[in-house]
């Protein structure tokens, strides 16, 4: 009788399988609401304009995924990660920005920049002067230290027009 009771209390293979399934489900659902993974990258380079004369203004920089991780066919080029402003610069100018790159949201790195010559914060508003823009791909990404040179040669061009 004692042996029977002892044996009945031992875990059966079926109960072990059920416990395994429960554990797998629990680990799949997890207790973490959001798991964010970031990759720190320092982006350095030189931004120059096509104009032979020096032009000044506020430099707007945007960092994009080369390809955003949409679901299935919804994956698309570009996807903004971060943006910065460097006030009162005269091109050409050297940049040095540190970026936290979300690794789960896409791949590749595109840097886009334009020069706000009239200070209105808008790229080429009607009736205003043309403002140069350009984009470049960080070829050696992923790396913690990147070099990207931008040539602002396209007036009034958005990032979507410059890439791909």
């Amino acid at each position: 009788m004692i042996e029977y009771i002892y044996s009945s209390r031992r875990a059966s293979p079926r109960s072990i399988r059920i416990a395994g399934l429960v554990a797998a489900a629990a680990s799949a659902t997890g207790c973490i609401n959001d798991d964010i993974e970031l990759y720190e990258a320092r982006v350095r380079g030189r931004v120059a304009a096509a104009s032979p004369t020096a032009i000044t203004g506020t430099l707007h920089l945007q960092f994009h995924h080369q390809m955003s991780a949409g679901r299935g066919a919804l994956a698309h080029p570009l996807g903004e990660i971060d943006r910065r402003q460097v006030a009162a610069v005269t091109l050409p100018v050297d940049i040095d920005e540190t970026l936290l790159y979300p690794t789960q949201a896409g791949q590749g790195l595109i840097v886009y920049g334009w020069l706000d010559r009239d200070g209105d914060g808008i790229l080429c508003a009607p009736g205003q002067v043309d403002e140069p823009a350009g984009a470049g791909r960080a070829a050696d990404f992923p790396s913690h230290s990147l070099t990207v040179d931008l040539a602002l040669t396209q007036p009034c061009a958005g990032a979507e027009r410059l890439y791909p």
Binding site: I32, N33, D34
Partner: protein, 287 residues
């Protein structure tokens, strides 16, 4: 005094509610009888274990009456020499509202009474079960989903604060886990406080449920630097006030239906929510 046999318990409840309650509330027995819709007519005699009627309680010197044959206790209750208030133990036997619909929607089942509720509609579906362990106290388990994308599983306790024939007020505390799988995943422990108010009548029971649900959503951020990986944790708070207003319909002592309008404001006040509705089925036993 404890009644083991369900029949004796039922007969005792009928007898005591037919006579002791009017005396306790100071009402004529005919007036009180109009309010007890669910009680069957009083039997002709008390059970052996039931307390004797007024003369035995009022006259200490009188010999104990022979085993009880009392034809009309309500006739003897009024009069100048009214009996003293009944004992509390006797009052606890009175169960004027013993329907599963009331317990499920307004809380407070008696000991041994259990019930299961299945409510479905837009956007919430829920399965709720509770069983009474003491007078008005009941543990409960609840599973709720919103459009099969947001799930909440909770364990809790329900306690009835007011338990009268035409008023039932109870509070609930629940602890559980929130799991939302969609474009906006949500995972984390949740807790809820709930207030349930029901007004039982003969056939229907209007009810109101107010709740405040809080979820803690832990998030992990890992930053891979040239010097190594840095991990930080943060917790978001999500508040979901809820409200339901509806009407329960008695089908049977152990079966009931309800219709209601719901409002669950997920992640208030940062979001907006539209009202919903539900229809529910309630079954139970142990009554």
């Amino acid at each position: 005094m404890t009644f083991r046999m369900p029949v004796l318990r039922f007969l005792a409840a009928v007898c005591v509610s037919g006579w002791l309650l009017p005396a306790a509330w100071g009402l004529p027995s005919s007036q009180a009888a109009t309010g007890a819709q669910t009680e069957p007519p009083a039997p002709a005699s008390f059970p052996v274990s039931a307390p004797p009627p007024a003369p035995a309680l009022g006259d200490v010197a009188a010999p104990l009456p022979p085993p009880p044959v009392v034809d009309e206790p309500a006739v003897q209750a009024p009069g100048p020499a009214s009996p003293p208030p009944p004992l509390k133990a006797d009052l606890l036997l009175v169960r004027p509202v013993e329907r599963v619909l009331v317990d499920q929607l307004a809380g407070g089942p008696t000991r041994g009474a259990w019930g299961i509720s299945l409510q479905g509609g837009y956007p919430f579906f829920s399965l709720r079960a509770l069983v009474g362990v003491r007078h008005g106290l009941a543990p409960l388990v609840e599973v709720e989903t919103a459009l099969a994308r947001r799930f909440t599983t909770s364990l809790g306790l329900s306690l009835a604060w007011v338990r009268r024939p035409h008023l039932r007020l109870s509070g609930e505390v629940l602890l559980g886990w929130l799991l939302q799988e969609s474009e906006l995943p949500r995972r984390g422990p949740s807790g809820e406080l709930r207030l349930r108010l029901g007004i039982p009548t003969r056939w229907v029971m209007p009810y109101l449920v107010l709740g405040t649900r809080h979820a803690l959503l832990p998030s992990r951020t890992r930053i891979e630097r040239a010097s190594g990986i840095e991990t930080t944790w943060s917790v978001q708070h999500e508040w979901t006030p809820t409200a339901s207003l509806g009407l329960g319909i008695h089908i049977h002592r152990r079966v009931g239906l309800d219709l209601g309008a719901d409002y669950g404001w997920v992640d208030a006040p940062q979001s907006i929510a539209i009202p919903g509705f539900h229809i529910g089925l309630h079954v139970g036993g142990g009554r």
